[in-house]
Amino acid sequence: PSLPPPCPKSPPEYPDLYGKRRELAKVQVLEREISFLEEELKTVDRFHPASRSCKEVADFVVAKSDPLIPVNRKNRRSCRFWKWLCGTPCFNFSWLSWICCCCYSKCSIHIELPRCCDCSDCSICCCRPCTCCSIPKCCCKSNCLNCSCKRNCCTCNPCSLFF
């Protein structure tokens, strides 16, 4: 008579010690994190508001000399001159626009200048904002003859030719 086919037994079910220990370790880490967070919640009420830290930063910065910060006394005189010259709003006259081709908004000399490009008439405009000064630039396409763009910034040719 033929022997019955082999029927190996399944291995005995050992307790999943490795998985259990890992799970326990993860739980312990989280419970430790919970205690740290509860501790921090208690102490955060005792912290002073951010304004005090901001004052400390400002006081430190102003008190320390820095070779990279230029000391420029001439700016004040030129600021007052340009404020007088430009008025508000500045350079509404289109015939002046060729002098100033980039906008300084909220600058210390308060010149409001026309944008580099009025994209509504420019058939080659892509109108992506300038990464340097957030002004829609004339164009950044490779075959654009009117604008030279580097890193998405517009420099209008009339101005650069003049200077």
């Binding site: 999943d16 998985g19 799970e23 993860k26 739980v27 312990q28 880490v29 989280l30 430790r32 919970i34 967070l37 921090e40 919640l41 955060v44 009420d45 912290f47 002073h48 508001p49 951010a50 304004s51 830290s53 901001c54 930063v57 400002a58 430190f60 910065v61 820095d66 070779p67 990279l68 910060i69 230029p70 420029n72 700016n75 030129s78 001159f81 015939w95 002046l96 002098i99 980039c102 906008c103 300084y104 908004s105 600058c107 210390s108 000399i109 010149i111 992506r128 904002p129 990464t131 340097c132 000064c133 957030s134 580097k150 890193r151 998405n152 517009c154 420099t155 101005c159 650069s160 200077f163």
Partner: protein, 461 residues
């Protein structure tokens, strides 16, 4: 009766929910304490913005010599030397004043990610994908192949070494950060780990750690930045847990740097922002971010503070290097290509060094200030280090490029010296005052021409 695995999993899920709830409560409480940020406070005090003239920050020299992407650089604490690491498999030690290469160290593993100068300047450390931090003594004799031998290998990390920094004033200890989610304090003399911060089953970062910065005023404190979007403050005497965790970023924290006062630190992240945090309270004091429209947001790869903390230099993955006014955090405007025309207008708060002539062509990976704060060096994937020296100190308008070949170092030294003397760059040559005078005259003439022209146009009918 011990818990079963399924019970433990339930406890795990409940613990996660509790952690999230506590974090949310903490976030709300912190929000109530953020009454103002640094920019708001500074504006209320009437602080004037920093303004740069067109010749105040110029690229003074390009250090050429690496044949692969530059990943890291570090200045000495004196004597103006720079060490740079590149994936051409070399560390190069440069004399920053003359651009000469004093050492070109062939590395055992080319995949280097970080380098650091020891406080005395006698050793350099580097680390990378080999998971080892290697130390080289610059005064050691070279081997028979002319290579500088490794004087110590710090092995123990289970992942890549992303950043290393020597403990200030100690040539024998340094701290590394790693892709194995830990930071380690090493004793270089023995080559052993003194402390491990974080790791599996420890309270620490939960993802790769990318950067460390040690406080200059208290060398027991350091901060780390990680892919888990947090920065953590550590006390080297307490390795079991971080002193504080700083949340806020929405992407990998690629770089951290202590503020000069030692009580704050800056971070730079994949979310495109730099942030300023207070270490004592955990407050987020300021966010530095500029809109980029619909374009992909460039990641912040590296940051450095000027010596007073007023300026924050930030390198981005698109090659830009912004100079932020830390007090006003304003996005200003400037005249564009500063090198191409000299407008008399003062430049605004944020200066994009990437728009200067001779700026980098590729991603900026590293930057650092010299010890005296007068020079900034940037490193890039275009394989060059570029060094800007404040014109206030040296008054240089010219761009000098010196590509000193390492083998002909002696021959070129004389040429380099005479070039530098001509432009007043050599200490004691007295050339500075001459260049100062001529530059002032040029600027005055340009100003005059501009104003006269404007007047004429104004008077036209």
């Amino acid at each position: 009766m011990s818990s079963s695995v399924s019970e433990l999993k339930e406890r795990h899920a409940a613990a996660i929910e509790t952690v999230n709830s506590l974090r949310e409560r903490l976030k709300q409480k912190r929000q109530q304490l953020l009454d103002v940020d640094v920019a708001g406070y500074s504006r209320s005090q009437g602080r004037a913005p920093v303004s740069f003239g067109p010749t105040d920050l110029v690229c003074c020299r390009t250090l050429q010599g690496h044949a692969g992407k530059v990943y890291s650089l570090d200045w000495t604490s004196e004597r103006n030397r720079i060490v740079s690491a590149s994936q051409d498999g070399r560390l190069i030690v440069w004399n920053a004043l003359t651009s000469q290469k004093t050492h070109a160290i062939k590395l055992p593993c080319a995949w280097v990610m970080t380098c650091a100068f020891s406080p005395t300047g006698q050793s350099v450390a580097c680390g990378g994908l080999d998971s080892v931090c290697s130390i080289f003594n610059l005064n050691s004799p070279t081997d028979k192949d002319g290579n500088l031998p490794v004087s110590r290998m710090l092995s123990g990390h289970k992942g890549y070494v992303s950043c290393c920094q020597y403990v200030p004033d100690e040539d024998t200890h340094l701290i590394t950060s790693s892709g194995d989610q830990t930071c380690v304090l090493w004793d270089i003399t023995t080559g052993l780990r003194t402390s491990v911060f974080g790791g599996e089953f420890q309270s620490g970062h939960t993802a790769d750690v990318l950067s460390v910065s040690i406080s200059g005023s208290n060398s027991r404190m350091f901060v780390s930045g990680s892919c888990d979007s947090t920065a953590r403050l550590w006390d080297t005497r307490v390795a079991s847990r971080a002193v504080r965790t700083f949340h806020g970023h929405e992407g990998d924290v690629n770089t951290v740097k202590f503020f000069p006062d030692g009580n704050r630190f800056g971070t730079g992240s994949d979310d495109g922002t730099c942030r300023l945090f207070d270490i004592r309270t955990g407050h987020q004091l300021q966010v530095y971010y500029q809109q980029h429209g619909e374009n992909e947001i460039p990641h912040v790869t590296s940051i450095a503070f000027s010596i007073s903390g007023r300026l924050l230099f930030a390198g981005y993955s698109n090659g830009d290097c912004y100079v932020w006014d830390t007090l006003l955090a304003k996005v200003g405007h400037h005249s564009g290509r500063i090198g191409s025309y000299h407008l008399p207008f003062p430049l605004q708060v944020v200066l994009n060094l990437g728009s200067l002539q001779n700026s980098h062509e590729g991603r900026i990976t590293c930057l650092g200030l010299s010890a005296d704060g007068s020079a900034l060096c940037t490193g890039s994937w275009d394989t060059n280090l570029k060094e800007l020296i404040t014109v206030m100190k040296l008054k240089v308008c010219q761009y000098i490029s010196v590509d000193a070949q390492f083998d002909s170092l002696q021959n070129n030294a004389g040429v380099i010296q005479s070039k530098l003397a001509r432009f007043g760059l050599l200490e004691g040559t007295g050339g500075c005052s001459e260049s100062l005078g001529s530059e002032r005259l040029v600027n005055l003439l340009l100003n005059l021409r501009f104003w006269l022209t404007s007047f004429c146009c104004f008077l036209l009918p």
